[in-house]
């Protein structure tokens, strides 16, 4: 303990031995550092959900003690089977569902006591294609901007419509548009008031490939401008493609929140397939502890291993094979997809 404090006083300046100016500077810096890190922490988190539960009169618990921080500027994917509580969670944050217990803040503003400031930051694209019918695209998007408390800004609306390839349709009645175009209109409405946070509830459900790719590109562009994006999806490849972090929700419980890469690394099982030169009758006893699986035709050996230990395991195995005189002509490795991880997680939960 003593030694530790000595080393720190050697590397830093000991306040006791400082002269007046030094000391002032030190105090100021330390205060600035402390304030800085507190502000930094606060700034990092844009949505804070703590102990959020939602139960209905029927007794059904849609959300159960959910605690989650969304970081500023990230793309967060919320995965879960149908009825898991994804939409309920989003709806609660956006003010459509009343929480039973717990607290949510958006940009530091409580969603109930300070709902104006909180909601002004949010753009919501709902799952269903709920649009007006008789209004023009331009009118409905301008309406949304006003609704969220922003003065009219035709230049911004024009920019949004152009970015969503809706400019040519601006005078069309919404009812005359295709489903994909209506989806774009909903996104334009959500972006009309320049939100800092965008919720996309199943954005690509029932959407063709072109629109899906457009949507992904749009989400990336938005992230470039510092918008935080929270999306729910069934499509694992969407989360895998887009997200920085992933949350898995099942039966109202948030069972996991993890950095995507980390999640893949942690939970992703890797498989090494070795295509053998010659048919192998059985696995040598010396290699038994690897848990190898030999294919029926005896020409392929499959080694399933934990991605975290990959180096030691593979090298030792290859050496072992060499010593046992087993030669192979090809090898390939594969990593389990997010889908496999997701399925196994949800199964575990059930």
């Amino acid at each position: 303990m003593k030694r530790l404090s000595m080393t720190t006083s050697l590397t830093r300046k000991d306040p006791n031995t400082m002269c007046g100016n030094d000391l002032k500077l030190f105090v100021r810096r330390r205060a600035a550092n402390r304030a800085g890190s507190a502000i930094f922490d606060r700034m990092q988190v844009i949505i804070s959900v703590s102990n959020l539960s939602k139960s209905y009169a029927s007794g059904f618990e849609a959300l159960s003690n959910v605690t989650l921080d969304i970081r500023r500027g990230e793309i967060f994917a919320l995965l879960g089977p149908n009825g898991a509580g994804k939409t309920t969670l989003i709806s609660t944050i956006c003010g459509l569902v009343r929480p039973s217990t717990g607290r949510v803040t958006v940009g530091g503003h409580d969603i109930i006591t300070d709902f104006r400031a909180a909601r002004a930051l949010i753009g919501l694209v709902p799952q269903e294609l709920t649009t007006d019918s008789f209004e023009s695209v331009w009118a409905t998007v301008s309406f949304s901007r006003g609704l969220f408390g922003k003065p009219p800004d035709p230049a911004h609306i024009e920019k949004v419509l152009k970015s969503l390839s809706l400019w040519d349709k601006r005078k069309s009645r919404i009812m005359t548009l295709s489903g994909g175009m209506k989806r774009r209109v909903l996104i334009a409405k959500a972006l009309s008031h320049e939100p800092r946070i965008l919720f996309l509830d199943e954005p690509t459900a029932g959407v063709d490939v072109e629109l899906r790719q457009d949507m992904w590109a749009l989400v990336r562009d938005l992230r470039e401008t510092g918008v935080t994006i929270i999306l729910t999806t069934h499509y694992i490849e969407e989360a895998e493609e887009m997200a920085d972090r992933i949350g898995v929700i099942s039966k109202g419980r948030l069972i996991l929140v993890e950095d995507k890469v980390e999640l893949m690394r942690k939970l992703g099982k890797k498989q090494l397939a070795l295509h053998l030169d010659q048919r192998l009758e059985q696995i040598p006893a010396a290699l038994a502890h690897y848990g190898l699986v030999l294919s029926d035709d005896g020409h392929e050996l499959i080694y399933t291993y934990d991605a975290k230990k990959e180096h030691a395991g593979i090298l030792a195995l290859l050496r072992g094979l060499d010593e046992a005189g087993i030669a192979f002509r090809d090898l390939n490795t594969s990593q389990s997809s997010l889908e496999d991880i997701f399925v196994s997680l949800v199964k575990e939960e059930q």
Partner: protein, 253 residues
């Protein structure tokens, strides 16, 4: 105060009126004109004056009230029912707008529309019958209070109704009969004594009586009572709306 939102909703609703001009303005004017022709000119010529007012003129305030009540309720109920029905209400509920602002915007737009209809009918009436307005400011006050009150009632119906049938039910089965039986076409004095008492339980009687007084200076019940009852309905409607938003009734789970 989110003025931009109020302006957006109000503007949206008024744009809807412009789009459906035939249905929202012209059709009530035509149907009321028919009443003038049938009751005022054809039948009215055979009915003696009531308290010194010709029958054709006597029914003008009642006819305006009839339109005001039905227009206010149907405008406001449809305005809030349709977003619920279409699902677009999600946007309203997730916007940084208070309940009071939502009510002001929708009820304001519905009341504006029905006041415009009322004034057009009044203007049309002058083509059929000679008309004088004894207390124009009181006339406007009753017009506005009634339009706002019944737009609030319409708003409540629009939130309560979970299908189109219910949406039509209250205006058709309650508002219209009450307006017809509330003295639109007759003075309460013309009824048998028992029915005169029964009629006093009809809230619309007070609205029509007060409104008619502002035209001709004659009334079935005292003006103070009319005004008091009108304000009472307004506050009851406001209280119900406040309850709806407090509990999230039919809006939020």
């Amino acid at each position: 105060m989110n003025f931009h939102a109020i302006r957006a909703i109000y503007g949206f609703e008024m744009a809807r009126t412009r789009r459906t001009l035939l249905q929202s303005i012209i059709s009530p004017v035509i149907s009321t004109s028919l009443y003038f022709v049938v009751f005022g000119a054809a039948i009215g010529s055979r009915i003696p004056e009531i308290d010194g007012v010709s029958y054709g003129a006597f029914i003008v305030p009642g006819l305006i009230m009839l339109s005001l009540l039905t227009q206010s309720t149907s405008n406001a109920s449809f305005a809030i029912f349709f977003p619920r029905f279409a699902g677009t209400i999600y946007e309203l509920l997730s916007a940084p707008i208070s309940y009071a602002e939502i009510v002001v915007s929708y009820v304001g737009a519905a009341a504006t529309k029905s006041i415009i209809v009322g004034l057009i009918i009044l203007a049309t009436a002058t083509l059929f019958v000679p008309l004088q307005i004894a207390h124009p400011l009181w006339m406007l006050l009753f017009l506005v209070l009634t339009a706002v009150t019944f737009s609030l009632i319409g708003f409540i119906i629009g939130i309560w109704a979970d299908n189109f049938e219910k949406l039509q039910l209250v205006p058709l089965l309650i508002v219209t009969p009450l307006a017809f039986l509330g003295g639109s076409f007759y003075s309460i004095d013309m009824l048998p004594p028992v029915w005169q008492t029964v009629t006093l339980f009809n809230p619309v009687v007070y609205l029509i009586s007060g409104f008619r007084w502002s035209f001709f200076g004659i009334a079935d019940v005292s003006v103070a009572l009319s005004l008091g009852m009108t304000l009472l309905f307004l506050f009851i409607a406001l209280a119900i709306v406040a309850w709806i938003f407090k509990t999230g009734y039919r809006l939020k789970t």
